[in-house]
């Protein structure tokens, strides 16, 4: 790029700029109308009380924020969301990493295994959640009948969050694994050859070569999955009925937002919950950025 101060554009440069503006116009207009205006509008609505049918906003200042921040269900839902992420992210990442390392060993049949592990990624979470809910069914479900137990997998507040986390892990393993495999393939083979000559075994190689050299991929996956887990909705919505007694102890912040904004039609309150979510995600993203230098190995 030639960046001269007060540079007068030549005819060719002008033509190029016109073409470029025409090419980016649909996207930029779309982003402004569909994304940037909505951000401002949501911020505005968070200061408003919604009238009937979502019409007739009245400005109420910080009243929504006062209610949202003093409601114990808000903090509970944030805690629930963090608890879900604490299950989904570490287990989803570690299991996927182990599977990826195995599948990268050029064993016979790897493509079959890969196809199976990736299968949940192409399924609608609504369908996945439905079958898990049925598997967890206390009376008729496969788990309790197979293991001769009588566990209330999804209606006991003490374990429901774990049961939902398990669905999350099952759903994301394949996705994380595919990303890990492509990261593994970028590690030059001679690192391992050199290590073998030095007598380093598989597990040693894993911790001294694979883990550090894969750390940029790992960091990317952890970051993407963390944001995904903190905005979890589909699984919770499909598995946890409104009448489920464990709902209070499991529902995520996005579930709470959906309930207020769309089930109850209280857009102003819903907008305030979204603002809480956004601040929360921003803080997490900021911490992740700070942590990157410490955990990611650059050679």
């Amino acid at each position: 790029m030639n960046k001269k101060e007060k540079h007068k554009m030549t005819a060719a440069e002008k033509r190029e700029a016109l073409w470029a503006w025409a090419f980016i116009a649909p996207t930029m207009l779309g982003l402004i109308i569909l994304n940037f205006y909505p951000v401002i509008n949501t911020v505005y609505q968070s200061f408003c009380k919604t009238g009937d049918f979502g019409k007739g906003n009245t400005f109420v200042g910080l009243a929504n924020y006062a209610t949202v921040l003093s409601a114990s269900e808000t903090w509970q839902s944030l805690l629930n969301t963090i608890k879900y992420a604490i299950i989904e992210v570490p287990f989803g990442v570690v299991i996927a990493l182990v599977l990826a390392v195995f599948l990268n060993k050029k064993l016979i049949g790897t493509s079959v295994y890969r196809t199976i592990f990736f299968l949940p990624m192409v399924c609608a979470p609504a369908a996945v959640a439905m079958v898990w809910k049925w598997l967890y069914n206390q009376q008729f479900g496969l788990f309790n009948n197979l293991f001769h137990t009588n566990v209330a997998w999804i209606s006991d507040p003490k374990i429901a969050w774990i049961s939902i986390g398990v669905i999350g892990v099952w759903s994301v393993i394949g996705y994380n694994m595919v990303l890990f495999i492509s990261g593994l393939q970028e590690i030059p083979g001679d690192y391992y050859e050199a290590a073998s000559i030095d007598g380093a075994t598989g597990i040693k190689q894993f911790f001294h070569i694979t883990v550090p050299l894969l750390s940029p991929t790992t960091f990317f996956i952890v970051q993407t999955r963390l944001i995904g887990a903190l905005t979890v909705f589909d699984l919770m919505f499909m598995v946890m009925d409104k009448t489920n007694i464990a709902l209070q102890k499991t529902q995520s912040i996005v579930y709470l937002f959906y309930t207020y904004a769309f089930t109850n039609g209280n857009k102003g309150y819903g907008a305030t919950l979204v603002m809480v979510l956004v601040v929360f995600i921003m803080v997490v993203t900021f911490i992740m950025q700070k942590a990157e230098g410490r955990f990611v190995y650059h050679n």
Binding site: E13, R15, E16, A17, W19, A20, W21, F23, I24, P26, T27, L29, G30, L31, L34, N35, Y37, P38, V39, T42, Q45, I95, L107, Y113, T115, I116, F117, F118, L119, M121, V122, C123, A124, A126, A127, V128, M130, Q139, F140, L142, N145, W170, G174, Y175, V178, L179, T224, D234, F237, M238, V254, F257, A261, K267, V274, M275, L277, V278, I281, T285
Partner: protein, 280 residues
Amino acid sequence: MDGIEARARLNKVIMYVILTIMAFIMIVPFAWMILTAVKTNQEAISVAPFYIFPQNGWHWENFAEVWRSYNFIVLYKNTLLMIFFRVVCAVLTATMAGYAFGRLNFPGKKIMFSLVLIQMMIPSQIFIIPQYLMVSSLNLLNTVAGLVFPGIVTAFGTYLLKTGYEGLPKDLEEAASIDGCNIGQRFLRILMPLTRSSMVSLGIFTALFAFKDLMWPMIVCTNAATTTLSAGLAKMQGQYGSDYPTMMASAVLAIIPMIVIYIIFQKQFVEGIATSGGKL
């Protein structure tokens, strides 16, 4: 040497055992979905004795019945149309913007591209209420256009395609401009065909994302005749949740098209996800 070989063989066995156990765990929910779908409801809710397999024949006709009674053809049609228009819009707008950001110089480029990056960092939940109000005031509730609405443009796709265009060799354009091609011709004839893999990645990503999305169709298409497979399932669960074979047959019908497409185009799917690295 013998010891090392024996250990390598043992390692292999351990790996296969772990892989097979994991594969089994991954398969169980799918198997249970199908096994329940072909049972009668009595068999499905029988606990003493508990049946893994259906006892009086496999009732494949359950699928036909669900297909008819829940109007699956309409759900398929809505989902397909939504995916089609979203993919076309996303690939078209992103490929144009990606080309401009990746290959052309123009005033305002930095600011415009930073807007694209900012959009990617904002949680999408913040867009939903105003988007819903827009769709509602445009009278597009319960229409395919309403389903497509938030996916007309894509910041993520623009970023993906920009990376694709930047990766192409620098001298392509010089050769083309000597031949007298203008910028539009260069784009259409020379550069765009070379970014096919990025376009395919974006297309697959967009299709999967649209197919899996639950909240948006639930909000804008509340009518069972206008909604998508995902949101349709949520509706059915709310209404007929205790008829387990019916529910499982519906779930199978909802996921089977994407599974078939995935198995046929597996290479593109896996590469598309691996290279785009988008958050699904």
